[in-house]
């Protein structure tokens, strides 16, 4: 490695959001040619810090130097001009435009007429140089998530980015795709580019980075560490601020009767393309079935079919022998199926209604909240007050609009509503996504409690570690099909199937229900 020059230096960065100090005098430096991991929990301020570097946010205080020269970015465009490009967690790609059009977006050249064919060629050449294969003529919506990520990287390379910030790039990738991405990143550092990798996953940080800066609650937890001279445990302690137990304790418990039966279900996605092709799963009382898979392989469609929010084109879902698929969502609710949706603000709550109104969303039709044609307002408020205390929802009052709640508190409202109905079956989609460690533990404890109480739980998650610690069995979904079910916590087998490799070994296979 050449003598380390600071490609980027950030000193005393302060960024405030209403009610939150997201970055509190943060220092960060990036050497030329290194992969520098920015590690921290959700909400630690990693993305905020990098959004400041990428010109999306302006800091209240602090200074930035790029290659030793002070800079003051007013917009992402300024940052790109200085060779800093960021690949966001939510891709900044316009679905209806082609790869080439997305790459050319915002540039001054071409001046007026697009003349796409010439640019297709230029982009193909760039792809070859860094080993990033994507058809330049393809529209973004036709691409897989991994391909879209490549387009994002290409977009920055085309603009001559010397510093590339990647925000949680592996969250959307299968394990094998992660390896490909890491190879690309290494080939980029070999050309002298510098990379910041934002992550909360210890394993991958240990695997790829040269140095690590840990952020905790908006501050740096000490100076940068050399990856070679630290350990997973030490990093975890820095991240959380205390010793972390990696295992969550789970009682051994024999499952009971069959509750949820998914038989040969096929369904289409929002674009009318097949999303599920003959999925069969059985979940019994007191059992958590984990559903592993990279995002977008049919998980959300499956959850919606079970809860009656999406019709299926073939097959059926039954709860305790009663059909719930292809019927109004109310049938599943009446069959006591709880649903913790992935989209908390878009589906799971009503932002401008009060906490009380949000808490009675499933129970308002049943006595005693329902009284004839009307709703017993006094009882509803008592019910809400009780749940607010029981589930430790932090809010000024039960009349507070739910849009004003933090992510963790909103999830508590949803959990309180869904769990208080004593569900027979639970469909939980990414229930811990975006929550901080304390909240994650709370959600996981609740799910285990329901398992003890005899609920049949379908836990859909992209966090393999979460599935391994909570689920009794793990099914893997890939392109709308179940590739296999793992019962012995075999992490490697799950990883292979997530990438689309069909599992054959004799020890696997469908559990015979009975």
């Amino acid at each position: 490695m050449p003598e380390a020059v600071s490609a980027v230096e950030m000193r005393g960065i302060v960024k405030r959001f209403p009610g939150v100090l997201a970055n509190d005098r943060v220092d960060f430096d990036l050497r030329q040619g290194e992969i520098h991991a920015l590690l921290g929990e959700n909400g630690a301020g990693k993305s905020t810090l990098m959004n400041v570097l990428a010109g999306l946010y302006r800091p209240e205080d602090g200074a930035i130097w790029v290659h030793g020269a002070p800079v003051n970015f007013r917009s992402p465009r300024d940052a790109i001009v200085h060779g800093i490009g960021m690949v966001h967690q939510h891709f900044m790609l316009v679905p209806s435009l082609t790869v080439t059009e997305n790459i050319l977006l915002g540039l001054h050249e071409p001046r007026f007429l697009m003349q796409l064919p010439a640019y297709h060629k230029r982009i193909a050449a760039l792809e070859e140089r860094f080993g990033l294969g994507v058809a330049p003529e393809a529209k973004i919506w036709q691409l897989s998530v991994g391909e879209q990520q490549r387009v994002e990287v290409l977009k920055m390379l085309y603009r001559g980015a010397e510093v590339l910030v990647m925000d949680e790039p592996t969250a959307v990738l299968a394990p094998q795709e992660v390896d490909e991405l890491f190879a690309t990143l290494r080939s980029m550092t070999a050309e002298g580019k510098s990379i910041v990798l934002i992550s909360h996953k210890l394993n991958e940080v240990m695997a790829i980075s040269d140095r690590i800066t840990v952020l905790r609650k908006g501050r740096t937890a000490g100076p940068p560490l050399d990856t070679g001279s630290t350990s997973r445990e030490a990093l975890a302690e820095l991240m959380v601020g205390r010793k972390v137990l990696f295992e969550i304790s789970k009682d051994i418990q024999a499952p009971g009767d069959l509750v949820m039966s998914i038989e040969n279900v096929s369904a289409e996605n929002d674009q009318g393309l097949p999303a599920l092709g003959g999925v069969s799963l059985q979940i019994r009382s007191g059992e958590i079935l984990g559903l592993a898979g990279v995002a977008g392989n049919g998980q959300s469609e499956l959850a919606e079919v079970i809860t009656g929010l999406r019709p299926c084109t073939a097959g059926q879902v039954t709860i305790n022998g009663k059909q719930v698929s292809n019927l109004p969502a109310r049938v599943a609710i009446d069959a006591n199926v709880a649903h913790i949706p992935m989209d908390r603000t878009g589906v799971g709550s009503s932002p401008n209604l009060s906490i009380t109104d949000n808490l009675i969303m499933k129970a308002y039709r049943q006595r005693p909240i329902s009284k004839g044609w009307s709703i017993d307002g006094r009882f509803a408020r008592r019910h809400a007050t009780k749940l607010k205390d029981e589930y430790e929802i932090i809010a000024p009052s039960i009349d507070t609009q739910s849009r004003l709640l933090s992510g963790g508190n909103l999830q508590r409202v949803i959990l309180a509503r869904e769990m208080s109905g004593k569900p027979q079956a639970i469909v939980a989609v990414q229930p811990t996504r975006g929550l901080d460690v304390g909240a994650i533990e709370g959600v996981q404890r609740l799910l285990l409690e329901q398992r003890r109480a005899g609920a049949a739980v379908l836990l859909i998650s992209e966090e393999l570690e979460e599935l391994l610690s909570l689920a009794d069995r793990i099914a893997v979904i890939y392109e709308g099909e179940i590739l296999g079910i793992v019962e012995d916590q075999d992490q490697e087998a799950v990883g292979l199937m997530m990438a689309g490799h069909r599992e054959i070994p004799a020890k696997e296979g469908e559990r015979k229900s009975g």
Binding site: L56, Y57, S75, P76, R77, I80, M86, H88, H90, F91, M92, L93, V94, P95, S96, L97, E101, N102, L104, L105, G106, P110, R111, F112, L113, M114, K155, D270, Q271, G272
Partner: protein, 322 residues
């Protein structure tokens, strides 16, 4: 009934719808839903007519009509872009405001007498094409010819140029456009204003060319709303918008003429012998708009494409998603 005359007049009256619809297509492709077309057309028609009367120059009127409607659209722009208000309600307010303003300032205009209109002329070579030449290129207003050029130009602009691509990006995914240094607010103001100016042009085309005069709110008689409907039917494509507009213009004209002849095909014309049935004829454009919308909406539902994804959604930097 003379089909050449009906189609000739239909093309002229369709030109009004064409301007308004293409303007709305541009605004909506940038993500701004402007339901105030009716108000903007009225203010355009009134300003144009009033200017033309006061200064005797129809071209000055045209400019005034476009400027007035463009300014009015900026009110909608400010409220829905910077203040992030509900665009449906803002568009309704714009209708009220535009209608109210044009009625207050247009009072007395209807009795103002004759005015110089925009010129009509025949295109030399094209008019000799059999049948089509008589309909499209003979003794039409200059605005009709402008209309012929506008739709393909708009299509080309949207699909083949850099600013057109930026406009589409802003309407589909403003956060992505913003992250690439495109000024989302600026682009939205621009096309809101262009949409307004085209609506003003549509209004001016009515009062100075197609059916000259100022008849207070009956000047537009709901054509602004028909244009909003046509935008959906057109799936935000200027060429489809043009086709729809001309078809609608011809239909409106046909209905006017349907009461004239004593015989329709082989039978006695019921609309001639029973003049009150004319009221049912007058319903047809409105009922037809509903039918066209049903067709357009079903198509959109089936394809789930076409609608700009961020249409009607205010953009704030730092908010996730669209």
């Amino acid at each position: 009934m003379n089909w050449t005359i009906i189609l000739h007049a239909g093309i002229a009256s369709g030109t009004v719808l064409l301007f308004a619809t293409v303007g709305e297509v541009l605004a909506e492709r940038a993500g701004i839903l402007n339901l105030g077309l009716e108000g903007m057309m009225l203010i355009g028609a009134m300003s144009a007519y009033s200017m033309a009367i006061n200064y005797g120059n129809p071209w000055l009127g045209l400019v005034a009509g476009m400027a007035a409607a463009g300014l009015l659209s900026l009110v909608h722009g400010f409220v829905s872009i910077h203040l992030r208000a509900d665009q449906v309600v803002s568009g309704l307010s714009l209708t009220f405001l535009g209608t109210g303003l044009s009625l207050v300032f247009g009072e007395g205009l209807s009795k103002a007498g004759a005015v110089a209109l925009l010129p009509k002329f025949t295109l030399p070579v094209l008019s000799s094409i059999p049948f089509l030449g008589d309909i499209f290129f003979t003794n039409q207003s200059v605005m009709v010819y402008v209309g012929f050029l506008l739709a393909p130009a708009a299509w080309y602009y949207i699909n083949r140029t850099r600013p057109g691509m930026h406009m589409r990006a802003v309407g589909e995914y403003p956060a992505a456009a913003d992250s690439m240094g495109i000024n989302v607010y600026g682009v939205r103001y621009l096309y809101t204003c262009i949409g307004g100016m085209l609506a003003g042009l549509a209004g001016a085309t009515i009062s100075l060319a197609v059916s000259p005069g100022w008849f207070s709110h009956m000047t537009t008689s709901g054509q602004g709303w028909i244009a909003v409907g046509l935008t959906i039917f057109a799936q935000w494509d200027p060429l489809r918008a043009a086709a729809g507009s001309y078809a609608f213009g011809a239909l409106r004209r046909l209905i006017l003429d349907l009461q004239g002849p004593t015989k329709l095909l082989l039978w006695d014309n019921p609309f001639y012998y029973n003049p009150y049935w004319g009221f049912f004829l007058k319903m047809i454009p409105y009922a037809f708009t509903i039918a066209v919308l049903v067709i357009g909406s079903r198509e959109a539902m089936r394809k789930r494409l076409g609608t700009p994804a961020a249409l009607g959604v205010p953009y704030t930097r730092g908010q996730r998603g669209v």
